[in-house]
Every structure is written in structure tokens, then in C-alpha cells.
């Protein structure tokens, strides 16, 4: 039987082509799922209350996870291997700064640069040997060791991923620990096949921290407290910034016009342009 896992369809820079990337700005189900995962990951990141932080988004793709960071008032830098995904991120007016790079070659940042790092649905890609010379264990170690050093001491990295087997979880966790991280796996809704989600929650030195607990029970039943918190934060940040016309259709059309004038490759306007995405909750 042919596998449905994207990582089995080819290397990520090939799989996330224009067509696949487009889904990440138009498919409301995908947007909804990625947004919820990002909110949970940021919650687990446990950034200092009411402070604007600098966050790294690993495998940032089209910027869906980054948009949540922006809404919560954080600055972010995103790294991804797919030019097509990054192009969509730019079209979506993502406010993070974007870098084209392969996380398996290491994170190209100075020591102590970030207050935290998130990664949504990307890490499982590192378990593949897409090129004959790829060695997943080596690439994972390179990734985690360089990630460790670019985080501020005591900062967290929260990586949501879709492991294929328990072995993969072990392989990933082992390399993270070898690189110096403490922490471990947080599993939300462990008893539900559909709602179950895994977050590798890592601490980069500093004081001893306790691993957060996974959510249990029915999916949705525990969302209220954290959701309320997110809404409050977003509102607070909106008030802080004042009225923003950003993301309105006119604003985006104007921006696109500016880009066209600059000779940038811009999507033709369509009915999707600036279409509101559905409310996540």
C-alpha cells in the first residue's frame, strides 16, 4: 500500500512546491489545524507574561505559525527549506523575517539569539534520508546542538511533530538530550487517535524546569482557559498598536501593486485575495 505520509513522497523542497504551498494559504482546514497547534506550542513556550520576545520559527512554511506569534506581539525569524512556502509567506504579508535554509545543516545564528523557538509539523522530515549522503541521526544532532546554542539560557524550544514510529520518537529525543537539552515529550489527548498531538518540549539550560502536562479528556473541553488567555493577549496587543487596517483587502491590493511596481512576482488578484480566514474557534 502506498504511504500517505508527505515525508515519503520526496524531499521537502520538492514536496512543498507551489501547489502544495498554495494549500497553506487557502485550505481553511489546514489553516485551522496549524493555527491551533501553534497556539498550543506558544503556550508551552511559557514566554514571560506581556513581553514582546524574539522567537525562531523552525520550518515556518507559509507563516501560519508566525502569524499567531505576530498576533501575540512577538517578533519572529523563520527558517524553511521550501522557496515556494516562503513565497506564500511573503504574499500573506507575514511580519516575520524569512530565511531559506536546511535545518539539518544547522541553525545559522549567533549564540543566545532567541527567547524561544517553535516548530510546527516539520521535525518528522529530518528523520528521512532524502539524499544518499543524508544520515538522519547526524542531521538531527546537528540541528539540536546548533538550536541549543542559539537559544538564550533557560529558553524553551517546543516542537510539534508527527512521528511515524515509537522508534523515531526515541531517535529524536535521544539526539536532543545528547545536544544538552532537558525536558521531554508532552502528549495532548493521548487516548484519542485523531486529537492526539505530540510536542517535544525542550529546555536550554538555566534553572530546573518542570515538564508541562499534556491535555487529557475530550478535545475541546480544556481549550477554554488557554483560548481565553490568547484572546485577551491578542486584544491587549491590538489596543497597544492602535487601529490597524492591515490585512484588509484594500491594504493588500495596494501592497501587491507596490510589489508589482518593484518587479516582484505577485499572484494575480483573485476571490481569495484577503479573504478572511475562518475564526479558529
Amino acid at each position: 500500500m502506498a504511504s500517505k505520509r508527505p515525508e515519503h513522497q520526496g524531499p521537502p523542497d520538492i514536496f512543498y512546491n507551489e501547489e502544495e504551498a498554495r494549500k497553506y494559504s487557502q485550505n481553511t482546514h489546514i489553516i485551522d489545524v496549524q493555527t491551533k497547534l501553534s497556539e498550543r506550542a506558544i503556550e508551552l513556550l511559557n514566554l514571560p507574561d506581556e513581553e514582546s520576545c524574539l522567537v525562531l520559527d523552525i520550518g515556518c512554511g507559509s507563516g501560519l505559525s508566525g502569524e499567531v506569534l505576530t498576533e501575540l506581539g512577538h517578533q519572529w525569524i523563520g527558517l524553511d527549506i521550501s522557496q515556494a512556502m516562503l513565497d506564500v509567506a511573503q504574499e500573506r504579508e507575514s511580519e516575520g523575517d524569512l530565511i531559506l535554509g536546511d535545518i539539518g545543516y544547522g541553525m545559522p545564528f549567533r549564540a543566545g539569539s532567541f527567547d524561544g523557538a517553535i516548530s510546527i509539523s516539520a521535525l518528522q522530515w529530518l528523520c528521512q534520508a532524502d539524499k544518499s549522503y543524508h544520515n538522519p541521526v547526524k542531521r538531527l544532532y546537528k540541528f539540536f546542538s546548533t538550536l541549543y546554542s542559539c537559544l538564550a539560557r533557560g529558553a524553551r524550544a517546543v516542537l510539534q511533530f508527527y512521528p511515524e514510529t515509537p522508534n523515531q520518537v526515541d531517535m529524536i529525543t535521544q539526539q536532543a538530550m545528547k545536544a544538552g537539552f532537558t525536558g521531554g515529550l508532552v502528549v495532548d489527548y493521548p487516548n484519542s487517535t485523531r486529537a492526539k498531538k505530540m510536542f517535544l518540549c525542550l529546555f536550554a539550560g538555566g534553572q530546573v524546569q518542570q515538564l508541562p502536562k499534556g491535555l487529557t479528556g475530550e478535545e475541546g473541553s480544556e481549550e477554554i482557559p488557554s483560548q481565553a488567555r490568547f484572546d485577551r493577549e491578542r486584544q491587549r496587543y491590538k489596543n497597544l498598536r492602535g487601529k490597524s487596517l492591515k490585512k484588509s483587502r484594500t491594504w493588500i491590493m495596494e501592497k501587491k501593486e507596490r510589489w508589482r511596481n518593484k518587479g516582484r512576482d505577485v499572484r494575480p488578484d483573485s476571490k481569495y485575495t484577503a479573504r478572511k480566514r475562518p475564526k479558529a474557534f
Binding site: 513565497d87 523575517d97 530565511i99 545543516y105
Partner: protein, 125 residues
């Protein structure tokens, strides 16, 4: 690419490179895009900025911004200074250009605002 990103980027993922910082920067095309001023963020990030590297980048790019020669604690509370830092770190964008490894001369192109840090397998450390 914003200058805050340039200030964090290194080329030490290259084989044989020890520090890889600061990357030399060349711009063929720049933009100035205003960003909401967030004093808390700037004050929080300043201690983490390699100030000399930032001044060098401002100089390389020929930006008309005057950053004092040395950073001090009083300066970090100074509103004028914080606003200049906000502008320099977050509002200038290099659209087209390149970053150059200070140790090997390896060039990393910047295209459509995105630096390309992809490596050949033989270059990986």
C-alpha cells in the same frame, strides 16, 4: 531581510568556519517599511545586539542614520536612541543583495528579501 536578522546570522554552519560573524552585507536594492514602534521590544533586545556589527552594517549599506560610537546604559533608556534602533533594526529591508562570510568569502545571495543559506553537502561542517 531586516538588520535584526543580519545581526543574528552567522556562516558558522560552513565547514572550517569558527565564528562566521558579522557577515559582510551588500545591497543592490533596499526598502524602508514602517513597523509599529514597540519600545519594550527594542529595550529588551538591545543587550543582545552586537552593536559594532550593527554600526558596520549601517555603514556598509550607506544608511543615513547616526548611531553613537559606543553603547551605554544611559543610552539604553534614551527614547531618541531607542527609536533610531527600532528604525535600524526593524524598518530597513535588504531586498536584493548578498551576505559574505568573513572567513571564507562564501556568498549567500539575498533575493526577494530572503537570504539563501542553503549549502552544498561538501560545505557542511
Amino acid at each position: 531581510m531586516k538588520l535584526i536578522t543580519h545581526n543574528m546570522l552567522t556562516s558558522n554552519i560552513l565547514k572550517g568556519v569558527t565564528r562566521g560573524f558579522p557577515l559582510k552585507i551588500k545591497a543592490d536594492k533596499m526598502e524602508h517599511i514602517s513597523v509599529d514602534y514597540n519600545r519594550d521590544f527594542i529595550a529588551r533586545i538591545i543587550p543582545r545586539i552586537e552593536y559594532d556589527a550593527l554600526r558596520a552594517a549601517v555603514n556598509d549599506l550607506g544608511l543615513n542614520e547616526s548611531l553613537p560610537e559606543a553603547m551605554s546604559e544611559t543610552l539604553q533608556q534614551d527614547d531618541e536612541f531607542l527609536k533610531t534602533m527600532h528604525k535600524v533594526l526593524l524598518e530597513y529591508e535588504v531586498e536584493e543583495g548578498e551576505l559574505i562570510c568573513p572567513e571564507t568569502g562564501r556568498k549567500f545571495p539575498i533575493s526577494k528579501g530572503i537570504p539563501n543559506m542553503l549549502l552544498q553537502e561538501t560545505e557542511v561542517s
